[in-house]
């Protein structure tokens, strides 16, 4: 296995959670809600995935549980914004802190541990192709690393532009995000449409969490999501809500994540390298702003 192919395979796998959360957040934002609580649903999804996988021995049930929990949190979160008129940023911040706190409480009270939860008989996500596929030249290692959630994430990226353009819900969602008063004036309920968007984001963030804990490590840690929900937010902001562009940005972040492991072995301080994706987010946002200014004065 060449080094390049290995980095590529790691990149693909590390991209998946960011990509799933970004898809959710993108749909949510198309509907007019900026969801900064992707992180909360992700970490909750990662936790419940470990618990259900251990209890039932089924990765599939674990994945469904993550989606359900993420969706449920997303729905309640949406109600606080659309019905109780909470500020979406403040409510999102609050949810991130609340979920992290609740999980810490659960870990210590129910499982008697702090920080990390190891449970017996956790079933990880299976690989789609048999081990032997890694002998295929060039893309072999990538194929060998593929798991069902990764495949699902990329299928979703492929389907999303079509769904947004051609389904009733896609059209109404875009309209609700672009001009809620218009949606109301044609007799639709824009709040319900937005609730769908936030629930969708919850489901996808829950799946992202399941991938974090079930793709390879098989345990839960309080710091597992490590800001990936925010990286996902940056991804669809960069790509201006376009699905394919968002996926490419996610891939880039996944690559930074993957090369970080390599750079560590090259002797660079790991903590410093760990800041790279976040540094790129800030740089990228500055570049985007600078570009706008340049056009203005052209």
């Amino acid at each position: 296995m060449t080094l390049a192919a290995q980095i590529l395979a790691t990149t693909i796998i590390l991209t998946t959670p960011i990509l799933l959360a970004a898809i959710g957040g993108l749909v949510n934002r198309q509907g007019g809600i900026v969801n900064i609580a992707l992180e909360a649903k992700m970490i909750a999804g990662a936790f419940i995935a470990i618990v259900v996988s251990s209890a039932t021995g089924s990765w599939l049930l674990a994945v469904f549980a993550s989606a359900a929990l993420g969706g449920a949190i997303g729905y309640v979160f949406s109600l606080t914004i659309t019905r109780a008129n909470a500020n979406m940023i403040i409510a999102g911040l609050g949810l991130n802190i609340l979920v992290a706190g609740l999980l810490g409480f659960l870990l210590s009270r129910v499982y008697g541990t702090s920080g990390t939860l190891r449970l017996p008989d956790v079933h990880l996500l299976p690989k789609i192709f048999p081990e032997s596929v890694s002998d295929v030249p060039l893309i072999g290692p990538v194929l060998a690393a593929l798991d069902p959630l990764t495949l699902f994430a990329w299928l979703a990226v492929a389907a999303l532009p079509f769904l947004l353009a051609n389904t009733r819900l896609g059209l109404r969602l875009r309209a609700a995000g672009n001009a809620p008063q218009v949606v109301r004036s044609v007799g639709l309920r824009e709040k319900s449409i937005q609730d769908f968007g936030t629930t969708f984001a919850g489901i996808f963030s829950g799946l992202a969490g399941a991938h974090l804990s079930l793709a390879s490590i098989g345990l839960f840690n309080e710091g597992l999501s490590a800001g990936r929900g925010f990286i996902a937010l940056a991804a669809f902001y960069f790509a201006r809500n376009r699905p394919v562009g968002t996926a490419l940005v996610c891939l880039f972040f996944g690559f930074l994540d993957a090369s970080q492991i390599r750079l560590q072995t090259a002797g660079l301080p790991p903590k410093l390298i760990g800041t790279l994706p976040y540094l790129m987010v800030i740089l990228g946002l500055c570049l985007a702003a600078w570009n706008t200014k340049r056009k203005l004065q052209a």
């Binding site: 051609n166 389904t167 009733r168 059209l171 109404r172 875009r174 309209a175 672009n178 001009a179 008063q181 218009v182 949606v183 109301r184 004036s185 044609v186 007799g187 639709l188 706008t292 056009k295 203005l296 004065q297 052209a298």
Partner: protein, 529 residues
């Protein structure tokens, strides 16, 4: 269009109406025992000053507000409208002043939104049938007699096309009661006559159209019947044949003075007119959805009011923002008494002697929640007269604020009231009071009478004239051609960001200006400057 909503029933005598409707907001009686009837196949104009109660009545007819007493009548029967959705289902459609179209969606997407034609692809899975949608759109387009590029993003479509799409959307959904709120405010005169033709055609097909307007000649040209509102009451209701414009004006104004636009301004051009403002080759690139400006040159002389006309969205607002130093220009020059201002900021423009009245009073012109005193004193806060050491000298601020407000006859309750408590006209007068405080030589004034009642309009026109007679000059952008014609010495016309013509006061008519407004900027000689 939709055969499942055969609503038009000519046998009823009242398709929609009101019986004795009253609605109070606190102590304000917005509607006071209002009754009126619209028959099937009738265009019914509702006219009156701002604040006369027209909007409240329309909100009640749409189910957005409930009357305190009285009922809405639909097909001869009283009906309780619970919410706008119900009104839509009953066939009542509203064409808003701010169009209800999502700007980032295409025109076709906006047309079908909420009632999308679907086709099944597998089992229960259905997607929007865009082909069928387009066929329906083409049929509607033919009925309206316009050509529409349905795949165009709405934000880039001309304003009159957006208006057509909004009307067609209502027709497609079977609405045969159309309420239009000042539909001609955004149109050029030629487009107005097309709209009038379309509305008459719809009327002949049985639609009931309620037309809110304050332009009486349009009411005469379009409506069959007119109801006039003043102070919450329907003071007159008659066939248009029975009321001439003079009679309508009397009903609208009560005992107030006559229409100020009648008092055409005698051209005040000083014999040794001095050039104050010079603009040469001004270009500004486009950002977002604004219109780029292309090579604009103009001079403004002492004592002169220069008008800027154009169909909404052709660069007038952008030009005004450039002249106020609020929008960066990419090339060209703006000079005031020979001093170059290009590349400088709004503060430098203000110091040089340029005042600015924004078209968006609620967001740019005023700090809505701040007090009347703070609003009228904004910009003067650093003047030594209003400071006491590091603190504000509040007694001095209060005295100056009262003086400024009194000078322009702004009616207010207390200086500490939020500025939003003032009526539109008084808010606008306050903006002028603030801008004039720094004694600017040039006033850049955009849409000053938007949302201002007739008495307020007269006061604002007087302020502009006084400013010029005192040796200043004014650049005035307005969507009201009558206003420009009444006030301006010259009217410059913009189309697609270019200057396409200039008309002197003596040659200015709605027709000459309208023709220029519709001209495309390409290869057109400037008429005469």
């Amino acid at each position: 269009m939709s055969p499942e909503h055969p609503r038009t029933d000519r046998s009823v005598s009242t398709r929609i109406g009101a019986r004795d409707i009253s609605r109070n907001y606190g102590l304000v009686q917005a509607n006071n025992g209002v009754s009126f009837n619209v028959t099937p196949g009738q265009i019914h104009a509702v006219v009156g000053e701002n604040g006369a109660g027209k909007s409240t009545l329309m909100r009640i007819l749409q189910g957005l507000e409930k009357p305190d007493s009285g009922t809405v009548i639909l097909n001869d029967d009283p009906v309780q409208l619970r919410d706008p959705q119900q009104a839509i289902r009953l066939g009542i459609g509203m064409v808003h002043q701010e169009f209800m179209l999502a700007p980032e969606l295409t025109l076709l997407e906006n047309l079908v939104l909420g009632d999308e034609p679907m086709r099944t692809i597998a089992g229960p899975i259905a997607i929007v049938d865009w082909k069928k949608a387009l066929t329906e759109a083409r049929a509607l387009e033919k009925r309206a007699g316009v050509a529409i590029d349905w795949d165009r993003p709405t934000a880039t479509a001309p304003v009159h096309i957006q208006q057509y799409v909004e009307i067609l959307r209502l027709l497609r959904r079977g609405n045969d009661v159309l309420i239009l709120d000042e539909p001609t405010a955004v149109l050029a005169p030629q487009q107005v006559s097309k709209l009038i033709a379309l509305l008459k055609q719809l009327r002949d097909q049985g639609a009931s159209i309620i037309f809110i307007s304050h332009k009486l000649h349009e009411v005469v040209a379009l409506a069959d019947h007119v109801t006039i509102m003043r102070r919450g009451k329907a003071v007159a209701s008659a066939s248009v044949d029975e009321l001439d414009i003079a009679a309508m004006t009397r009903h609208i104004m009560g005992d107030a003075p006559a229409d100020p636009s009648e008092q055409a301004r005698a051209a005040v051009v000083l014999p040794d007119a001095r050039r104050i403002l010079r603009v040469e080759g001004l270009c500004a690139v486009t950002l977002d959805r604004s219109q780029a400006l292309d090579n604009i040159s103009m001079d403004v002389f002492q004592g002169e009011i220069v008008g800027i006309a154009g169909v909404a969205g052709n660069g007038q607002e952008e030009l005004m923002e450039c002249l106020a130093g609020l929008r960066p220009m990419s090339s060209g020059s703006i000079s005031l008494n020979g001093a170059e201002l290009a590349g400088k900021e709004n503060m430098d423009f203000r110091r040089a002697g340029i005042g600015y009245v924004s078209p968006d009073r609620a967001h740019e012109g005023l700090a809505r929640l701040a007090s009347i005193a703070d609003n009228v004193m904004a910009g003067s806060q650093h003047a030594p007269a209003f400071l006491k050491g590091p603190f504000r000298n509040l007694p001095a601020v209060g005295r100056a604020a009262r003086q400024r407000l009194a000078d322009l006859d702004v009616r207010y309750g207390a200086l500490s009231d939020p500025v939003s408590s003032l009526s539109g006209g008084n808010q606008q007068k306050l903006v002028f009071a603030r801008e004039r405080a720094s004694k600017p030589q040039v006033l850049i004034v955009s849409q000053p009478t938007r949302g201002v009642d007739l008495n307020g309009i007269a006061a604002i026109h007087a302020i502009l004239k006084r400013h010029c007679e005192g040796g200043g000059c004014v650049v005035l952008a307005s969507e009201e051609l009558d206003e420009l014609i009444a006030l301006c010495d010259r009217i410059l016309v913009l189309s697609e960001g270019r200057m396409v013509g200039a008309v002197r006061n003596e040659d200015a008519t709605p027709e000459t200006i309208g023709k220029l407004m519709l001209a495309s900027g390409d290869g057109l000689e400037i008429a005469h400057v």
